[in-house]
């Protein structure tokens, strides 16, 4: 593993394993398209603290595009720079596309040696074997974080492609129907069931040029729903997290799901 690769690995671990880490996001050039022949789109992928200002490129090797007919497609080309990755794709069909950049479910462990926190991408059993004898605060989380967005050409379709694994966002208001000053509702499921108590933050674009971040903070109700009203048209990043005790305590202490959804609120 060369230095660059190991840095990237550390970054990936740091980003994935920590609630306080950078937000990961996809930002498509268009959310809404009208066309008879189809249109090209570009999607930026980055991890940053300022919403939609690029900072550290996300790997998009795992980017997947669910077409309106239910087929899975890959970007036609992509490029990874230091601060962002870019994927190109031709939107050829009418309907809604779901673009995801998810890893598969994995283990994230951490421990402390002399007050210094160490991280490793191993399960709890492996952690016990590898951690030094004086290590404390051994902690392992098993989870999956989703990074996703929707693009609609012509008439929207309910192409949400859920798989019943960990935390998922199921739009009740279609992502192409979110409008400033109008309420929108999303449902969150955990392992396929509506989940209460999911912490959700919704951050509007452009925090760099505002004194207050204006982040909406919500928690899902007993039906797993949040309802929010975007105060202005623009692009938003939704960040949702849910954590519970792991089922298999031999391999992890906690289980965790996360969702990063980028969407636009349209002009009235």
């Amino acid at each position: 593993m060369n230095i660059k690769k190991s840095l990237l690995f550390c970054l990936a671990v740091a980003i994935s394993g920590q609630a306080s880490a950078h937000s990961r996001w996809l930002l498509p050039s268009h959310f809404t398209l009208s066309s008879e022949q189809g249109e090209w789109i570009a999607v930026d992928a980055s991890a940053s603290n300022e919403v939609f200002n690029v900072d550290k490129a996300l790997s998009i090797d795992g980017m997947s595009i669910l077409t309106p007919s239910g087929k899975k497609a890959r970007p036609s080309s992509s490029y990874k720079a230091h601060r962002k990755s870019v994927a190109d794709y031709f939107i050829g069909d009418s309907g809604t596309y779901k673009i995801t950049n998810n890893a598969s479910a994995s283990y994230f462990s951490s421990y402390k040696v002399a007050d210094k926190r160490q991280r490793a991408r191993v399960n709890k059993a492996e952690l016990k074997a590898m951690a030094p004898a004086n290590a404390t605060n051994l902690q392992t989380t098993y989870g999956l974080t989703r990074v996703e967005t929707y693009i609609t050409m012509n008439n929207p379709t309910e192409n949400y492609g859920t798989d019943g694994q960990f935390l998922e966002l199921l739009p009740k208001t279609h992502p192409a129907e979110i409008v400033e000053n109008e309420p929108a509702t999303f449902t969150f499921t955990y392992h396929g069931k509506a989940q209460a108590g999911v912490e959700v933050e919704i951050a509007p674009d452009g925090a760099r040029y505002r004194n207050t971040p204006n982040v909406m903070k919500l928690t899902t109700d007993k039906n797993g729903e949040i309802t929010f009203t975007p105060a202005q048209a623009g692009r938003y990043l939704l960040i949702a997290e849910y954590e519970q005790e792991a089922k298999n305590k031999a391999l992890a202490d906690k289980e965790q799901g996360g969702v990063f959804l980028t969407f636009e609120a349209q002009l009235q």
Binding site: L33, S34, S35, E39, A176
Partner: protein
């Protein structure tokens, strides 16, 4: 011969009279039956002159009923399909849901000026709109320019209603008249 001709002429005039009478009768019967004869919607639309680089605006005007359901697109002035999405509200609520409708009503854009327009108050299937509450929407979007969304609530009933829509950066004063 003369006689014959005049009898013939008088027969023709009787037939014509009968035809006119029956036409009148039919018309008045229709009018009486008629919540069904559509009201007239007259719009005097003014697209403002603009400074600098100017592209004629895309314009859509449409009606939504009291359930906010679009019932009729009155006009659509536009260019290629790729720009339809920029007529944001019309595209979201009307255009993208009905490709056939978009094909049926399209017409080219117009440069700044005043346009007296008149429409029958029917739905997209040419059926008279029933008495009730409606909203007229007019959306004007200029490439490399501004956007204006105007709306005016109105009633279709047996009365005449006149409205004046205030000027915006894209439109001058617009008058809107509903005549039963």
């Amino acid at each position: 011969m003369n006689n014959l001709l005049s009898t013939y002429a008088s027969n023709i005039s009787k037939i014509v009279l009968f035809a006119v009478a029956s036409l009148l009768f039919t018309l008045s019967a229709t009018a009486q039956a008629s919540e069904n004869s559509p009201a007239t919607l007259a719009i005097k639309l003014e697209l403002k002159q603009q400074q600098g680089e100017y592209h004629p605006p895309y314009v859509a005007a449409w009606l939504e009923n009291s359930d906010r359901k679009p019932v009729r697109t009155l006009l659509l002035w536009r260019k290629e399909p790729k720009w339809l999405k920029d007529i944001r509200r019309w595209w979201r609520n009307v255009g993208r849901k009905d490709a056939a409708l978009v094909d049926a009503i399209t017409s080219a854009t117009h440069a700044a000026g005043t346009f007296p327009l008149s429409f029958k108050a029917t739905d997209d299937q040419q059926q008279s709109l029933p008495v009730g509450d409606y909203t007229l929407y007019i959306e004007v979007v200029r490439e490399k320019g501004g956007r204006a969304l105007l709306k005016q609530a109105f009633k279709i009933d047996n009365n005449t209603h006149k409205f004046t829509l205030n000027e915006t950066a894209e439109t001058g004063e617009i008058t809107f008249t509903v005549t039963p």
